[in-house]
Symmetry: C2
Subunit: 428 residues, 2 copies
């Protein structure tokens, strides 16, 4: 029984019934926050051991560097090795940063604006008349915001379940004003999709009008699997090297959703040439990042296998939450033809698409019941979803009972808003 096939009278009857349920929820006076992709307390507890003093014994790195004092701009060797393994780059192709990979991305784009990319014959981007940037949608609001703030015109390109619409991307990048693209290649925020190797190869090889075109590849969820193991994927830097464009991409990752968000370590990976250029600018900005925290993380997580073992524990906490959302959505909305949703194997989100024109109304309705979802449109440039259809669900933070309640409420709101939309359409 698809809602769209129902007659007006049946719809109105169903709508009345749903409003009764809605009002009963409304009277509960709930206050749930489903807006951000934060780990829950039990996940955080997995890393409390990180703060054990034993991990700082001797306060020195394997290169005999005193970690309590100034120095070592690119990171201590054991932290570089750990993060290089995670990013799939060499230890000469990495800088280990501070507590925020987002800040590394911001810093890099600021550098491109003020000092240029270091590409021969290219100017600092502030000198250009017009700047454009490709944003894959639905995507991560904080990415889009950085390029918006820096004055880029943001161009939305749809994701297709296995990465971007590459025909569209290849056409757009012929424009020399298009300076780059944001991407999250694995378990993308919010769709959870894994870019195919073929699309990664096309991104690496495509002809770009701008000689200093850059891919900002945020590999935020590279080890954040929900089931057996992380998805295998062609490394973006590897692909760029193979295509003869080694300087096209910068990779980013952090331990934010491995240990403690806001108190982890981050890293940027790139060609040796790019890393040299980055360090030549970075030395003006700071003396070093927090090496004590680097040592703590390197010793606590040990190596790539250590990270995977640790992420397995996260997965055990998270998978039931993702399954609960999926089960409720399937039970409540399955077959009604009013909602599509993703079933990711990793990452932090479930992405839902309502009927066109319903997303804002759904979020507003849920808010009436005390359940806050990420504002509709947040996953699009300028916070505007042309279809008003996408909502990002963040199932990780709330306890499972809260999550289930919130999703049940969401389902009621989706039903109500869909029926109201269909009725509105009937009347037109």
């Amino acid at each position: 029984m698809q809602y769209k096939d129902l007659d007006k009278k049946t719809l109105k009857g169903l709508l009345d019934a749903e409003y009764k349920i809605f009002n009963s929820y409304k009277n509960l006076g709930l206050s749930y926050d489903m807006t951000r992709g934060k780990p829950c307390r039990i996940q955080l507890d997995l890393s409390n051991e990180l703060e054990n003093q034993k991990y700082l014994k001797g306060f020195s790195s394997i290169s005999d560097q005193e970690v309590r004092n100034y120095g070592v701009l690119d990171g201590i060797p054991e932290a570089k090795k750990l993060m290089a393994e995670m990013l799939g780059v060499g230890t000469e192709e990495i800088v280990v940063g501070g507590n925020s990979s987002l800040n590394l991305m911001y810093d890099l784009l600021v550098r491109f604006m003020l000092f240029g990319t270091g590409t021969e014959g290219c100017r600092p981007w502030v000198k250009e008349e017009k700047l454009k940037w490709i944003c894959l949608v639905p995507g991560y609001d904080r990415h889009f915001l950085i390029t918006e703030k820096l004055g880029f015109e943001l161009i939305a390109v749809p994701l297709q379940g296995d990465g971007p619409d590459m025909d569209m991307v290849e056409e757009l990048v012929k424009d020399p004003c298009v300076k780059g693209i944001w991407m999250i290649p694995k378990y993308s925020n919010p769709t959870g999709e894994v870019f195919s190797d073929e699309k990664i190869r096309r991104l690496a090889a495509m002809e770009t009008g701008a000689k200093d075109f850059r891919i900002m590849c945020d590999d935020a969820y590279t080890v954040h699997f929900l089931r057996e193991a992380p998805a295998k994927q062609l490394n973006m830097l590897e692909a760029c090297k193979e295509a003869g464009n080694p300087d096209r991409v910068f990779l980013f990752c952090s331990t934010s959703k491995i240990t403690f968000p806001g108190s982890g370590i981050s890293a940027v990976g790139a060609s040796e040439k790019n890393i040299k250029y980055l360090l030549s600018c970075l030395t003006v900005q700071t003396i070093c990042y927090d090496k004590v925290n680097q040592l703590r993380h390197a010793r606590f997580l040990k190596d790539y296998d250590g990270i995977i073992a640790h992420m397995k524990k996260h997965a055990e906490i998270l998978l039931p939450k993702f399954e609960a959302v999926n089960n409720i959505l399937a039970k409540e909305l399955g077959g009604l033809g009013i909602l599509k949703w993703t079933k990711p194997d990793g990452g932090y989100f479930i992405s839902i698409d309502t009927l066109p024109g319903c997303a804002s109304a759904v979020v507003a309705k849920a808010k009436e019941c005390g359940v806050k979802f990420t504002p509709a449109g947040a996953t699009f440039p300028y916070r505007q979803d042309p279809n008003d259809s996408n909502i990002r669900i963040a199932p990780t933070l709330p306890p499972i009972q809260e999550l289930e309640a919130a999703i049940n409420i969401l389902c009621v709101c989706v039903k109500i808003c869909s029926m109201e939309k269909l009725l509105e359409n009937c009347e037109e």
Copy 2:
């Protein structure tokens, strides 16, 4: 007996004698690094307790904020209170940052370049034809480097033992291209001088051609006294408020030389209006700074009195080093008329001035004996000291025996280079 009063023959005799000592030092094969202002290991050990897990108990701030998760852009309340006391500002006038106050300064200037200062009617600085910046000399190389990298023309203004030559500053700032000034008001790097309240008032009140003129006030050594207590000083933000220019100044400090350099916390203080503007930009850049480290520092240092008690321990380690340098300089060079040096009551440096044209030669000569000093000129914009006279001595890092050896070698090098300069002058 001043060297300048000696005849050629006497000088030559003395020079030969000094070269014998020089050569004996040279043959020792020493390798001492006196270049940077780093705390020594015993100072670092004062804060090892910082890493005790007890300081993180509960992982939550007094505002019940979970410090292990994302959020709280401006810092947890106890860290804000601690740093506000140190900077002498209100808790609404501060943002607590990451591990580097230098990075906060860089970030702020980058913001002014790309987005402007938030002053009504003023453009982002990248839009200006010409940008100039006042650098007090001798000063801190990393300050100068930031404004150099951002494309400012750097204008040197001499310090006078109680702050800048204010007549010169007041004249220069009439030029609307002059956008700001670097300053270290207390125990300035490297002169150790404390700006007088009168000069602070003049800096706060002076008429500036640029409506968005900014004072970058790096209060890096505000609690870094060597004797009884920190010098009392009029607060620069207070002075600016009194003068009706509350938005003119940004204050910076950090715990880098209190606990662990590179692993401390930093802060920026300013008017509430400036802080609001700063946060509106910062939210694009990062989600939050490291709150676990903020909690650790706030609980370990407790409050302003706790900081002072802790700094007293640093002073006990450092004062003998500063006195050793002073004693050797007085003993070896006193009355010779070839070297002036500072006798600071705080900070990290002793600043020396050789006869004009000797500083580079002294540093080169010392290097021949295996003793590395900060390159001559480093304390000036573009690394060029017009008098080739200033050298920054950093006595904190080496053990006292090394320090004494290094300063004895320095004295021999100063004698040699001074005599060679005087002989050269005779021959002209």
